[in-house]
């Protein structure tokens, strides 16, 4: 019978707290950068300028296809050799995961906008509104409501994917725990604890979306009628 020893966890609680904080911080930075970049890509993809549209398409396909782990290792080890450019591991993780998230966000935004029926645009045009006004006042509010569950899914995924940053020695939850295991020899307690911490980290995201949906998106979008 394995002898559980939860004392260790309590003793090293600050390791988990700091790790959790870094994981959360990394995820938030990635969510902000990835969403902004993804929105830009979604716009570029619809651009009348062929070159921009092709660039956006290629970008999206490449970064949807590449595994994050490969991306992180490549940036971390190859960039310094190719360009003599050594950045710290945290920002490598931010760049790698943001590239990944932006590609998926772009597709989610595109699908969200395309889910809004053509008639919603047309009645705007018929009243003399510009495309920009139609997007801001009519299409995006409805499209964003449709996107929220998918975007949340993407964000939660990236929170989990941030654990991959531990392979390039970013001091996130998983990396700190691995270091702790090598000094305390308590892998079962520690892995159980970090599983719980990930759950605790993800839970507020779910609550937050529910609240936002209830508070700001009470209406039904045109494609749901």
């Amino acid at each position: 019978m394995y002898n559980w020893n939860w004392q260790t966890i309590y003793l090293y609680r600050s390791v988990f707290l700091q790790g959790a904080w870094l994981t959360l911080y990394l995820t938030l930075v990635v969510v902000v950068i990835g969403t902004l970049l993804g929105s830009l890509l979604a716009i570029l993809k619809k651009s009348p300028n062929k070159i921009l549209a092709i660039f956006a398409n290629a970008y999206i396909e490449v970064f949807r296809a590449l595994p994050i782990l490969v991306l992180l290792i490549w940036i971390y080890y190859v960039m310094p050799i190719l360009f003599d450019w050594k950045i710290n591991a945290f920002w490598v993780a931010v760049i790698g995961i943001s590239l990944h998230l932006s590609a998926f966000t772009a597709e989610t935004i595109r699908a969200g906008v395309e889910s809004i029926p053509k008639g919603q645009f047309e009645s705007g045009h018929a009243l003399g509104l510009s495309l920009k006004q139609i997007m801001i006042h009519i299409v995006l509010p409805q499209a964003i409501k449709n996107m929220i569950p998918n975007l949340l899914g993407l964000y939660i995924n990236e929170l989990k994917n941030s654990s991959l940053a531990s392979v390039i020695a970013v001091d996130d939850l998983l990396h700190r725990s691995n270091v702790l295991i090598s000094s305390t020899y308590r892998p079962l307690e520690i892995y159980t604890t970090i599983a719980l911490v990930y759950l605790i980290l993800i839970f507020p995201f779910i609550i937050l979306t529910r609240v936002v949906e209830k508070r700001y998106f009470k209406f039904t979008s045109a494609n749901q009628i």
Partner: protein, 249 residues
């Protein structure tokens, strides 16, 4: 009187399917025109060309001081649409906004009315369509007939010179058709807005229209006063169409 709308040799095709094959007609200011014809005859496309929702392949449209040709850079389509309102078959109201918000968006954003002015006016138009007590309701809580009346109020709120009605009762349950047609009839009677109505409601066309256009296969077959078109049509195709449509009643 000078024609207010003049359509000359209008052609439109979609992927080599010819939808309009040289349509020409004129409309005077304040006239009410009903466009009838079998589905696929190009009625809706004609309407959509008149407010620039569809670009044209050949010919010329002069409408409310604007000239539409296939070189679209010669006119400002947004300015045109301020003058030419449209009401759609599927209402196309914005479900994330209340009735009032649907009505005031364009006056505020396009015509730069203040929010206060827009609201006051919106309530006037809501009263005209008999929905003043629904101002703060969301669209999904309204019946089809009410939704279409809101759509009409929304178009009226831009104070257009011309209104285009595109089969506005086709998506409605039969018992809701009357309330919408009544509103259109009221607007038609006032004679300060020029109206083109695409409709399958023959009885309604006969009642409100000054002239009726019968279209088939992308061309105008016959134009005339309602009593002439409906009682003694000149063309064989008009006769056949009316016979078919009246038998179904």
């Amino acid at each position: 009187m000078l024609p207010f709308i003049r359509v000359e040799n209008l052609h439109k095709e979609f992927n080599s399917l010819k939808v309009l094959k040289g349509v020409s007609f004129e409309v005077s200011k304040g006239e009410v025109i009903a466009v009838i014809g079998p589905s696929g005859s190009g009625k809706t496309t004609l309407l959509r060309c008149l407010n620039g929702l569809q670009n044209i392949d050949e010919g010329k449209i002069e409408i409310a001081d604007f000239t539409i040709t296939k070189e679209k850079e010669f006119f400002d389509v947004k300015k045109l649409r301020e003058k030419v309102g449209m009401v759609f078959q599927q209402f196309n109201l914005w479900p994330h906004k209340t009735v009032l918000e649907n009505i005031i968006l364009a006056p505020v954003k396009v015509k730069s009315h203040t929010l206060e002015d827009a609201k006051i006016k919106a309530n006037v138009f809501l009263k005209r369509v008999g929905l003043e007590n629904k101002a703060h309701h969301y669209i999904s809580t309204l019946s089809g007939g009410e939704q279409q009346r809101v759509a009409i109020a929304r178009a009226l709120a831009m104070e257009p010179d011309i209104l285009l009605f595109d089969e506005i009762t086709s998506a409605l349950d039969p018992e809701l058709v009357g309330e919408v047609l009544e509103v259109v009839e009221e607007i038609a009677k006032e004679k300060n807005i020029t109206i083109i109505i695409v409709t399958h409601q023959i009885g309604f066309a006969r009642e409100v229209a000054d002239r009726v256009i019968f279209m088939d296969k992308g061309s105008i077959v016959e134009i005339g006063k309602p009593e002439q078109i409906f009682i003694e049509p000149k063309e064989e195709r008009t006769k056949q169409f009316l016979k078919r449509i009246l038998r179904n009643k």
